[in-house]
């Protein structure tokens, strides 16, 4: 009973953490605050992955998103915002007009999700890492290799663009 209560408490904590910080990301006007709020969203989502017995992906989430993507984003904020004035409030345009399609979309999705029956989730299963590893090298071998080409393209492309230009001249 206590275990059940604890599980519930942790779940709702994670939900509030995720949604709350996501709202900060989007509606806070200070860019650096947004970037740091993203950290909490990503961690909250990783926690929810554990609830869904996706242990391997929870670890990947921490490594790829928190360790990689978030670092890149914060790096970008520091690189582009003027270093001495980190908290420039940024203008937003017709916020209420832009929210209309969001509300429409949200309404449709909520309607559909709620009109389907409520599936109960069965208890935990064993760790998934071994299973995933096997699948990546059998059924999903080709996607695995395509992903490697995708990363190669991103790597070369990013280097080509970000490299300071010496040799280029204008039209």
């Amino acid at each position: 009973m206590i275990l059940h209560f604890l599980t519930q408490a942790v779940f709702w904590f994670l939900v509030i953490l995720t949604v709350g910080s996501a709202i900060v990301v989007v509606f806070n006007k200070r860019i650096l605050h947004s970037a740091f709020a993203l950290l909490f969203t990503l961690c909250g989502v990783a926690g929810l992955y554990v609830f869904l017995s996706a242990d391997f992906l929870a670890a990947s989430q921490m490594l790829v998103y928190v360790g990689g993507i978030l670092t890149l984003i914060i790096f970008g904020v520091f690189l582009t915002a003027r270093m001495y004035n980190m908290s420039i409030p940024e203008q937003t345009h017709q916020r209420f007009l832009a929210l209309l399609p969001v509300l429409g979309l949200g309404g449709i999705i909520f309607y559909v999700l709620n009109s389907a029956e409520w599936h109960l989730i069965t208890p935990m299963v064993a760790p998934t890492t071994e299973n995933l590893g096997k699948m990546l090298l059998t059924t999903y071998l080709v996607p695995f290799e395509v992903a490697s080409m995708l990363l190669l393209a991103a790597l070369i492309g990013a280097i080509r663009l970000a490299r300071p230009r010496k040799e280029d001249h204008d039209d």
């Binding site: 999705i109 059924t139 071998l141 996607p143 290799e145 395509v146 393209a153 492309g157 080509r160 280029d168």
Partner: protein
């Protein structure tokens, strides 16, 4: 036949993958001495892949546990992508050298974008389709911004990336909901589900497929998700624009046919109505916007939206003739658009560099050959017989009439009639206008050769459309 670890099933993408690394290596090792080594290597690789694709035409079945299909449909689209890739690469050096951006990475990214497209056309699983699409998109984001020193190119690239990533979210959400309903991401199992379910669009499926369609229509530049394309096409380097406006569009339609083309499965009236409205909007909005343009590059960008609308008509008809008409049209559209963009680029060099229509003045007397080729492209885009563009439209529209979409075809034909105005404006300018003193055309052999190949292909397939149509039809039958 189901070979699982069958490397020959993915021969074309394998050649492209190995080739992209080879191009990078030759550029690093030989690039200093022989400036065009990367260029020549790329052309060789594309030709090799084309020969492979042609001699080992798909015979059906799938490989790698149902991840890729090895049927005629795959081979047909591979050939189309490789052709466009070859033509674009062929005329690129002129632009790249002139603007000081002749880096080997350009060719490598084109090869990798083609690799992504081949996987989109051969996808047997939503996962491989998604990865192919993203490989293609990431290469295109970089290619659009390849002219780093021009702010316009940067902006085009940023706009493409932000919106592309945004719509990837929708696409992926659609896939998640489809997976939630079906319990599998395999396309064969999804179509089994659609065939057996009492209410195919019930549960999460309807909104899942709708979100998937939104993601795809973004890549096709279908109204209302077209707003990125004129700016992005305008800002990107011209050879890249020629590439972006043809091959990815073909890849997106190929994937749409793979996912949604299930003859015998009725997705229901709402689905048809949505496609109907999308087709009408796309044709009309693209057309009227193209009318207002003074820049030839922007005019071609808007007109490519219109052409996506015509293709949607075939997609809606979704019978054998309509689908094979789409394949025919997509193949020919590659020649028409690449040809038109290359000539626009060459002619642009006479003027101030903003692709003004007046740069075309007196082209008919100064360079009759180029003017004749441009006329072929314009007439074919309009759909005048006996050019290839006419037959593409004919097949698509007659398929739609067969399925009872008479009003849709009436609107499509009216739109074609409107498009005469802006396509012929280019010809009027070439043959009937006195221009102020414009510089002579420079000699650009590779660009001229590209235009000649495109023009010949349009003439030949216009006069003898049936072999290609038969091939397209066989590919569509293989899809079933």
């Amino acid at each position: 036949m189901n070979y699982d670890y069958n490397l020959s099933a993915i021969a074309v993408p394998l050649i492209l993958a190995a080739g992209s690394v080879l191009v990078l290596l030759t550029d690093v090792l030989l690039g200093k001495k022989a400036k065009d080594s990367a260029y020549q290597t790329t052309l060789t690789i594309l030709a090799l892949a084309g020969v492979f694709c042609f001699t080992r035409w798909g015979t059906g079945g799938s490989a790698f546990f149902g991840q890729v299909y090895t049927d005629g449909f795959t081979s047909f689209f591979n050939l189309a992508f490789l052709t466009v890739g070859f033509l674009v690469v062929l005329n690129s050096p002129n632009y790249l050298i002139r603007n000081g951006i002749d880096h080997g990475e350009y060719y490598m990214l084109i090869l990798l974008a083609l690799l992504g497209m081949t996987f989109m056309a051969s996808a047997g699983d939503l996962l491989i389709f998604f990865l192919g699409l993203e490989t293609m998109s990431i290469c295109l984001y970089v290619l659009a911004g390849f002219h780093k020193s021009r702010a316009k190119s940067n902006e085009s690239s940023l706009k493409y990336l932000l919106l592309g990533a945004f719509f990837t979210g929708f696409l992926l959400y659609g896939m998640a909901l489809v997976y939630g309903q079906v319990g599998s991401t395999n396309l064969a199992e999804i179509s089994n589900y659609l065939a057996e379910a009492a209410n195919p669009l019930g549960g999460y499926m309807g909104i899942g497929l709708a979100l998937l369609l939104i993601g795809l229509t973004f890549k096709m530049a279908v109204v209302p998700f077209h707003f990125w394309s004129p700016d992005v096409y305008d800002g990107a380097p011209t050879p890249v624009t020629a590439f972006m406006s043809t091959a990815p569009k073909a890849a997106a339609f190929a994937a749409a046919l793979r996912i949604f083309y299930h003859p015998g499965i009725e997705l229901g009236i709402p689905w048809e109505n949505v496609l109907w409205v999308l087709a009408v909007l796309t044709m009309t909005v693209g057309n009227f916007a193209a009318l207002a343009q003074t820049s030839v590059k922007r005019m071609l960008a808007y007109s490519s939206i219109t052409h996506a609308g015509y293709l949607l008509v075939g997609f809606l008809a979704s019978n054998e003739l309509g689908a094979s008409g789409m394949l025919f049209y997509l193949f020919m559209y590659g020649f028409m658009n690449v040809g038109a963009f290359t000539i626009a680029y060459l002619v642009n060099r006479r003027g101030k560099g903003n692709y003004n229509l007046s740069d075309f003045a007196q082209l008919g007397t100064k360079s009759p050959m180029l003017a004749a080729l441009m006329s072929i492209f314009m007439l074919s885009l309009t759909g005048i017989p006996p050019l290839a563009g006419f037959f593409g439209k004919l097949y698509i529209f007659s398929a739609a009439v067969q399925e009872g979409y008479v009003w849709l075809v009436v609107i499509a034909v009216l739109n074609s009639a409107i498009s005469v105005f802006y396509y012929l404006r280019v010809m009027v300018m070439m043959y009937m206008r006195e221009g102020e003193d414009l510089a002579d055309l420079e000699k650009a052999p590779t660009v001229a050769i590209t235009a000649v190949i495109c023009g010949l292909a349009i003439l030949i397939f216009g006069l003898f459309p049936s072999p290609l149509l038969d091939l397209a039809r066989a590919s569509i039958i293989a899809l079933l």
